[in-house]
């Protein structure tokens, strides 16, 4: 979060940004090549899609929302709890016989409202995003647990499970959804006023306000997006797991922030991209996948995970910085 003065000369941010993404992409590919030789059964379309891709999908969806929030200079710790709350409400409604589509809409609305509350506390009451979402992280979790009395909801309609948990043309639907969302939110960030304002707010909120723009509205919007995407990720996850439990999603905030930051989003705000979040999520999933395939012992998994995260960032830093 230290603001470092870069005085590298260049004309177009986009080129740098692309190189930046290319940096992680390079690490991803490098990793893939190395692992293909080192790890049996790593190198296969199936493992790439169903092993790494699918497990990265959930994290990616959450990380998109977090990237938006972080770009404005905020943070959302409540994503996991929001996910759980939306999931149990959605699942409960399905169990009670509401059509799946309607239940999905309600679950997304729950996510949106959870995000809205975060956003309003940040913009209207002007509390620090960290504290607000730390508070709601606890609160929403409590709601999810009280709602189900701590029990998981087990019987989801098969139609629903197939719709969101299935696959199309060999690609799992969660992965397709994640990719579509990445594309959509990349376009929004780059090619709409809203996206531009979100970036601008992170760069210099005061200047944006002086331009006559209602910054509160856009900041709030990012929390709503984050809440809805967390809800959507939860819906995708429960379709796969076949059960919704109120403790779902714990630790999501950390993985999603990690994916975002590994992907080049700055926690200081003003800078970030959604494709990076996807690449970050893929990198983290690949790591997990390899460690599992290698059957690395629990303690050494921790050692390896830590080393590789930092190692990847160091490589990224030096390829980027010249």
């Amino acid at each position: 979060m230290q603001k470092t003065q870069t005085s590298t000369p260049s004309n177009r941010t986009t080129i740098i940004e692309r190189l930046r993404e290319a940096g992680i992409l390079a690490i991803l590919l490098l990793g893939a090549v190395v692992f293909s030789f080192a790890v049996p059964s790593f190198f296969s379309v199936d493992n790439a899609i169903n092993g790494i891709g699918l497990s990265a999908a959930i994290n990616t969806i959450v990380a998109i929302g977090l990237t938006y929030v972080i770009i404005t200079g905020g943070i959302d710790l409540s994503v996991g709890s929001t996910a759980a709350l939306s999931a149990v409400i959605g699942a409960d409604l399905m169990q009670r016989g509401l059509p799946a589509l309607l239940a999905v809409v309600v679950a997304l609305a729950v996510g949106a409202v959870a995000g809205l509350i975060n956003g309003l506390l940040v913009t209207r009451v002007q509390l620090a995003p960290f504290i607000v979402t730390l508070g709601t992280m606890t609160f929403y979790r409590g709601l999810a647990l009280s709602y189900t009395n701590g029990q998981p909801i087990l019987s989801l309609p098969d139609g629903y499970k197939h719709a969101l948990g299935g696959s199309v043309l060999g690609l799992p639907i969660p992965l397709i959804a994640a990719l579509l969302l990445v594309a959509a939110f990349t376009l929004i960030l780059r090619y709409t006023k809203t996206g531009q304002y979100i970036l601008a707010i992170g760069g210099n909120a005061e200047a944006v306000r002086l331009s006559g723009i209602n910054t509160s509205r856009y900041i709030t919007l990012t929390y709503v997006i984050s809440g809805m995407l967390a809800a959507f990720a939860a819906l995708v996850l429960i379709a796969q797991l076949g059960a919704a439990e109120p403790i779902l999603g714990s630790g999501w905030e950390l993985s999603a922030i990690a994916a975002s930051v590994v992907g080049g989003t700055s926690l200081a705000g003003g800078k970030g991209n959604v494709v990076g979040a996807l690449l970050g999520a893929l990198l983290l999933s690949m790591l997990q996948n390899v460690l599992t395939l290698l059957g690395v012992q629990a303690f050494y998994q921790l050692l390896a995970t830590g080393l590789i995260i930092i190692g990847a960032m160091v490589i990224d830093r030096y390829t980027r910085g010249n």
Binding site: Q5, K193, G212
Partner: protein, 506 residues
């Protein structure tokens, strides 16, 4: 001038504004007419920016009446001001570094939700051309020099197509060349009926542009006069409340040994082959146009940016790995051109801001009493107001902030002083003080290397002038040779083939 019907664009009456009991604007009035340039004059801290901010809806006055086009209005936010056709160029730059020039110019004004960059860039191009900015509209603002950023701000105000444009020190980081350009823009605007409120500490600008002048002193309204009816001295008297001694002239100095010796300094793509020497008791200036690379050279000498090759010697001793910390300890001081990003620690007290370097040198402790002994004389010498070392520096006026940064190095003391735009945003009265200060430093044997875009200042202070163009040294002018025309000629390259025999080309 032909007689036009006088239309009132914007008026303010009986404006009062206090910050925590400090009365900053006291019953101030102001009236802007269509098609005029109305200059607002006053010393640093007189309340100019505060008045302008109330006119733009950033501050809500404690009392008073605002009217636009004769209709009373209340403005609660910049948005309100914009709907009344007001645009503002802020004293402290308000651009978004990560966004492109086009995006910044059109911010809040883009039109449809889905952005069409090609169209946005096309829309912006004429405005960039109008302000004489020759850069691609898709360049990110963070890649621009401060001066270029300033021009982007001006382009932005123009692009708003407002009826009233407020300019708070728009020229404080511009060189003569761009200032001329700004004149053209301002005249075009006023000709079409736009009213402009103009704040500057430069009387030549006031003379060239202003129709009327309003003067504030200590938050009081002193008066409004027609510019052509008054002399500069009269204006200064209105501002300061007393007659002011002249700014002084250059005093001959006898430079001593070489203190700073820079040889073959290179930084790929930014500057090339810079060699220069500054002697003890000498003031050397780097002159040039925007983007000539002066700032970059100064920063590189101080070790703030990496270099690709070259060597720096201090008092005959090489500096193997220059960095700000190393240079500071070896007696080099540095004042950056971008006060807000690189100068002040905004939420810290004035005393802390001033003592940063002295602490590191072990000159003062952090005990309040100890600091006060060091801080107060500097505040007095520099005329910093309010004279309260415990004030948060963010709440000081721009000029006073600049003085605090100067004070930082004066308090710490140094053998070599690198200053980028020493009097940015400083009022006439204080400017004279600062010139005297630099003279005094030189007399004490300090080697001063400065970057300045104000030619009168360059001529007032320098023993020698090095002119840069496009990252290279284009020539050197001695005191005797120097004139505004020659500096400009070297800076623009207009006479490179004419081989003026008086100019020692490097």
């Amino acid at each position: 001038m032909t007689v036009l019907p006088v239309t009132e664009l914007l008026s303010a009456q009986h404006i009062n504004k206090s910050f925590s009991g400090v009365h900053v604007l006291k019953d101030v009035q102001f009236l802007l007419r269509a098609g005029e340039v109305h200059a607002l004059l006053g010393e640093n801290g007189a309340g100019k920016s505060t008045l302008l901010k109330t006119l733009f809806g950033i501050y809500i006055p404690d009392s008073g009446i605002l009217a636009v086009g004769g209709q009373p209005v209340t403005m609660h936010s910049p948005k309100d001001a914009q709907t009344h056709g007001i645009a503002m160029i802020h004293q402290e730059l308000a651009l978004i570094p990560e966004l492109s020039v086009a995006q910044n110019v059109l911010l809040g004004n883009e039109g449809r939700e889905v952005l069409n960059y090609a169209q946005m860039e096309a829309r912006v191009r004429p405005f960039l051309a109008q302000v004489g900015l020759n850069i691609a509209p898709n360049t990110p603002v963070k890649r621009l020099t401060i001066a270029q950023q300033q021009m982007v701000e001006i382009a932005r105000a123009v692009a708003r197509q407002a009826r009233i444009i407020i300019m708070d020190e728009p020229t404080s980081s511009l060189t003569t060349h761009e200032i001329e350009q700004l004149y053209v823009v301002v005249r075009e605007l006023t000709a079409s009926g736009v009213g402009i409120i103009y704040v500057s500490h430069h009387f030549d600008e006031i003379e060239a542009l202003a129709d009327r002048v309003t003067v504030l002193r200590d938050g009081n309204y002193i008066g409004t006069v027609d510019q052509k009816d008054v002399t500069q001295d009269q204006l200064v008297t209105m501002m300061v409340g007393r007659e002011l001694a002249a700014q002084g002239t250059f005093v001959e100095r006898t430079p001593g040994a070489v203190r700073l010796d820079v040889r073959g300094l290179n930084r790929n793509g930014v500057f090339e082959d810079i060699s220069l020497q500054v002697h003890a008791g000498e003031v050397v200036t780097l002159a040039g146009l925007i983007g000539a690379g002066r700032t970059e050279v100064l920063r590189a000498i101080y070790g703030a940016d990496p270099i690709t090759s070259g060597q720096i010697e201090l008092d005959g001793q090489p500096v193997p790995r220059p960095s700000p910390a190393v240079m500071m300890l070896r007696g080099v001081g540095f004042i950056a051109e971008d006060r807000r990003q690189q100068g002040i620690v905004p939420d810290a007290k004035v005393s802390v801001n001033m003592m940063l370097t002295s602490w590191a040198k072990g000159l003062v402790s952090v005990r309040e009493a100890d600091m006060r002994r060091s801080v107060e004389p500097q505040m007095q010498a520099l005329g910093i107001r309010p004279a309260n070392p415990n004030q948060t520096i963010r709440r000081l006026s721009g000029g006073n902030q600049q003085k605090v940064i100067l004070g930082r190095w004066l308090a710490a003391g140094c053998g070599v002083l690198l200053i980028d735009e020493p009097t940015r945003g400083i009022d006439v009265a204080s400017k004279a003080d600062i010139y005297t200060l630099v003279d005094e430093l030189a007399r004490q044997g300090v080697a001063v290397l400065m970057v300045s875009s104000e030619l009168p200042e360059v001529l007032r202070l320098s023993d020698r002038i090095l002119v840069m163009r496009e990252g290279r040294l284009a020539g050197e002018l001695s005191r005797a040779q120097a004139s505004e025309e020659r500096i400009l000629a070297l800076a623009t390259g207009a006479q490179t083939h004419a081989k003026d025999s008086n100019v020692h080309a490097v």
